[in-house]
Amino acid sequence: MREYEYHAPESFESLVNLASGDGAEVRFLAGGTDLIPRISAEKNQIPYEKKLPMRIIYLGTLGLDKVTEEGERVTIGACCTLSSLLENEIVKTKMPALRDALSEMAGVSIRNTATIGGNIMNASPAADSVPPLLVLDAVCALRSASGERRVSLAEYFTGPGKTVAKPDEVLVSITVKPGPGGSSFKKLGRRKAETLSVVNAAVYLELRDGFCQSARVAVGSAAPTVVRCVDVEQALVGKKIDEGVVREASLLVTKAISPIDDIRSSAWYRARVAPIMVARAVLTAAGRKRG
């Protein structure tokens, strides 16, 4: 049976030493709503292979749970719980796409525990917080012994469960630029609550006199990572936004996605409904005025 060790460092200095690994698999623990059930499942499996000890490093004692606003930018601490963000005035008023996504994630008790950083670091293609952050041009701050580096969320994911973060790098915050436009999030799950996305979509749109000035579109659960849909964006920019234009542009989402069959849906269905979720998200965003 595998060994586990737990640490709750109270400063980054002590965290950095622990994170170096030395013969252990390092896992950072934020809310734990994904990691802990995974560990529990592992503890019920027959240990045919010998695994390295798991070093669990708790991030909850580092004060990473603040939301701060600086000029046009909002920085969200990686350990903010989904519930705290849902209640946050800045999120509520300036990031409707993120607010909508948070409100449809899991259920209240999980949202009380789960963190935004955890949702990102899981790197699930179905992570609901990612498409809204992606269209809000989020930048992730990673910290390690060698200091802090910033990586655009657009370049953050390398595959299902995989990110550019090195094993000893901690995601400490996410910075977004809410911008003057409207944003929205649409989710298609398998039931109306407590469901993982079959397909989701987030949109950020700037309009002037009904004409699209700028558009950012992201789709989740339809490719190995959440993807930006550049073709859809280009087809929207410069156009007067009406239902026909949106529907037509949304069909281009298929150029960006590469869905698979799994227990939650078939590739066919994901490809079939992705344009619809995009179109709905665009139309909702177009109807939203920031403020």
Binding site: M1, A41, N44, Q45, I46, P47, Y48
Partner: protein, 440 residues
């Protein structure tokens, strides 16, 4: 029995009262004790080795290292089971014999001081499999040359001789001739899990008198006791089942999932043994509502009267009979629905495939058929151009009618429930239907 003849509900004192749940205070205070809450001093934990293939031959199995593993009190295989067959139709192996027939079938079980020790021991069992070609699709399984699930063949023989369970009433061919429309449909239902909130769990121990006591999630304590007395080869006065309060059953706990193995390990070790399924085991390996395929061919007259019905049923029973046969029998009786059909033929088949066995699940054998039948009924209504309400009134049973197996119906109320549900949902019924009654 005069007491049950009271006709007017007003005469009742207790009957008809909204009495809150007898055990409700226990539920809301968390004091109700379920089997999964039972803990005994010095209790061992059981974990089992399950077959990773849909079908395989166990070429060799060596548990000697596992027995020596730290914290282990017992490791058992088929050789340690006094009588290795159980279930309502006792054809299911407690621990697999040479051939395993479904993924997740139990092969060996360990009782150890902790979950970790039990799992470590399971990892030390040396087992050599020869993977065999399984058959998963029931329609493939009934075809000639299909891989054999069981030595006696894939088809269940009813009354020992017949491939089909037949229901016959009137003359179907004549009935089809009488019809203005012939309507056919094919319907399928999937595997469903009972998904009770409490997973299956047993705690077994020997009491001071040497009696084997099993805390069980069984829906029928005596039923399980009788079944397992045979497995353990114990007289009933040496075997006690404790339970009666469970976290959901829905039919799933009519099959034994943990009691047998926990009991065997308690006998082997003399210590209390707890065997609880994880949610994953419960979902993947316990009995299920197994798949069904229905083909219905109906004849209907312009006036909406169903003149003939022919139903072909195929039940995918999984690898062992468990409660599949019972489901087929019950399904056959009721597949023609709550309609008086004078000319009827039902041909039901049951086939074995390499999947987990068919258990009972709420609506057992019947609601799958009623889905097919009720959807077909609307199809008939559309063919004739009458409403879904009308077709149900026109073909309804009345008091004194015999149903499709010749069962005389004493208390009937299709018509009354239709009238009421129409009123509830704001549908106005024509006068002639409002005037109808189940009492002819």
């Amino acid at each position: 029995m005069d007491l049950c003849r009271k006709e007017v509900s007003k005469m009742f004192n207790s009957v008809g009262k909204r009495v809150p749940r007898y055990d409700g205070i226990g539920h809301v205070t968390g004091r109700t004790q379920y089997v999964s809450d039972v803990r005994m001093p010095d209790m061992l934990t059981c974990k089992t080795l399950r077959c990773p293939y849909h079908k395989a031959r166990i070429k060799s199995i060596d548990v000697s290292e596992a027995r020596k593993s730290s914290g282990v009190y017992a490791v058992i295989t088929k050789d340690n089971v006094p009588h290795n067959l159980f279930a309502m139709v006792p054809d299911h192996h407690v621990l697999a014999e040479e051939i395993t027939r479904y993924k997740g079938q139990n092969i060996a079980a360990v009782a150890a001081v902790s979950r970790e020790a039990a799992l470590d021991a399971l990892a030390k069992i040396k087992i050599e499999y020869e993977e065999l070609k399984p058959v998963i699709d029931p329609e493939e399984a009934i075809a000639d040359g299909a891989p054999q699930v069981r030595p006696e063949g894939n088809n269940h023989l009813f009354d020992g001789t017949s491939l089909v369970r037949k229901i016959r009433r009137g003359n179907v061919e004549e009935g089809f001739k009488e019809a203005d429309f012939i309507v056919e449909g094919r319907y399928t239902t999937p595997s469903q899990e009972h998904a009770p909130m409490e997973t299956c769990c047993s705690v077994a121990y020997l009491d001071a008198s040497g009696k084997l006591v099993i805390h069980s999630k069984a829906q029928g304590l005596y039923f399980a006791q009788g079944d397992l007395a045979n497995v353990f080869q114990l007289p009933l006065n040496k075997l006690k089942f404790v339970g009666g309060t469970i976290g959901g059953g829905f039919g799933g706990m009519n099959s034994i999932h943990t009691d047998h193995i926990a009991g065997l390990l308690a006998l082997a070790t003399g210590k209390p043994v707890r065997f609880a399924l994880t949610r994953e085991e419960e979902t993947l390996f316990s009995t299920i509502r197994s798949p069904w395929i229905f083909k219905i061919k109906d004849g209907i007259r312009k006036d909406g009267v169903i003149t003939a019905r022919h139903v072909e049923v195929l039940h995918d029973c999984g690898a062992y009979t468990e409660l599949g046969l019972y489901a087929v029998e019950k399904n056959a009786n009721l597949i023609a629905g709550a309609n008086l059909i004078k000319n009827l033929a039902v041909d039901s088949r049951m086939v074995y495939t390499n999947k987990m066995p068919s258990g009972s699940m709420r609506g057992f054998g019947v609601n799958v058929g009623q889905y097919a039948e009720q959807v077909q009924l609307d199809r008939l209504a559309r063919a004739v151009g009458i409403s879904p309400m009308e077709i149900r009134f026109i073909n309804a049973f009345h008091v004194g009618d015999k149903n499709h197996t010749g069962n005389e119906l004493a208390s009937v109320s299709t018509i009354e429930t239709l009238q009421k549900v129409a009123a509830m949902s704001g549908q106005k019924l024509p006068e002639k239907y409002l005037a109808m009654s189940s009492d002819k």
